[in-house]
Amino acid sequence: MDFNDIDLRIMRATQAGLPLVAEPYQQLSAQLNLPVDIIMARLREMQNSGVIRRIGAVPNHYRLGYVFNGMSVWNVPDAQIDALGQQVGKLPFVSHCYHRPRHLPDWHYNLFAMVHGRTQDEVNVQIAQIAQVLGGNNLGNDVLYSTRILKKTGFRSGL
């Protein structure tokens, strides 16, 4: 049995979402003509290997009232970034938190944290809270706000 082919079929069938019926995996099984045990086993395996980050809901920040969305960027020591990133990622208002490369001398920020608030003040408080978590490891920071959406496709990545 070719798992790659099965996984691809499961991915395509669930890209738009999981069926909202009492037995969603059973419905996928009927749709794909595959035993339900195989579907559940492959989903578990894809989750364990990290191909699936998780099965869950993706909130729409704007529709939730979080209309102030800032990309906060931080310069922290590389040696500490994983520990600091975990701490920042745990803050409830941080939706995405990543380590990204610097581009010296133009760009020296290596930690990105997307923050979301209902007001600008709320976002300012959040930035201050991140700064507090980073303490002396904060070697500089900035916040970039989107001023215009230039393109937005249906592509969903969680990035």
Partner: protein
């Protein structure tokens, strides 16, 4: 009512449900029933609320969240310093690439930020080169090196 006051169209049970579902969803015969039991709701209420949240666009998606990179695909965030007088022209060039999924103007010297998604790493690198050639501007490639969290907790 002041126009900057936003009244969210969801209640505290919805917020609990959204938070709960960001932690993960069971893989078993009747997963919605399992979620319902844990939240003290009926299975039907969970299904109805989820459908309404999706219909209202409060959640944009419900289901497996795939890691594009681990499926063999490639993804990156990239930025360009666009001279203001060239902004519209460069926007047209960049947006014309089908590989550009999202593109945002941001208030920084690096004033254009876009997400590229391709089927392979090689295609990604080629697209970055093509954008540089067509715009004549340097593209700052910022792929994620590590991911610490993706999700958002609501006040329930």
């Amino acid at each position: 009512m002041a126009k900057n006051v936003f009244e969210p169209a969801y209640d505290s049970i919805d917020a609990q449900l959204i938070n709960f579902l960001q932690e993960g969803f069971p893989i078993c015969e009747s997963p919605y029933q399992q979620v319902a039991t844990q939240l003290g709701l009926s299975e039907n209420e969970v299904l109805t609320r989820l459908q309404t949240l999706l219909d209202d666009g409060i959640i944009s998606r419900f289901g497996p969240l795939y890691h594009a990179e681990r499926m063999g695909g490639a993804l990156t965030l990239a930025a360009i310093k666009v001279p203001p007088e060239q902004f519209e022209q460069v926007t047209e060039i960049v947006n014309a690439f089908a590989q550009v999924a999202h593109n945002y103007a941001r208030n920084h010297e690096l004033n254009m930020w876009f997400v590229l998604a391709t089927e392979t790493q090689q295609a990604l690198e080629q697209t970055l080169v093509d954008i540089e050639l067509q715009t004549g501007l340097r593209v700052y490639n910022m792929p994620k090196l590590n991911e610490y969290f993706v999700g958002l907790k609501l006040e329930a």
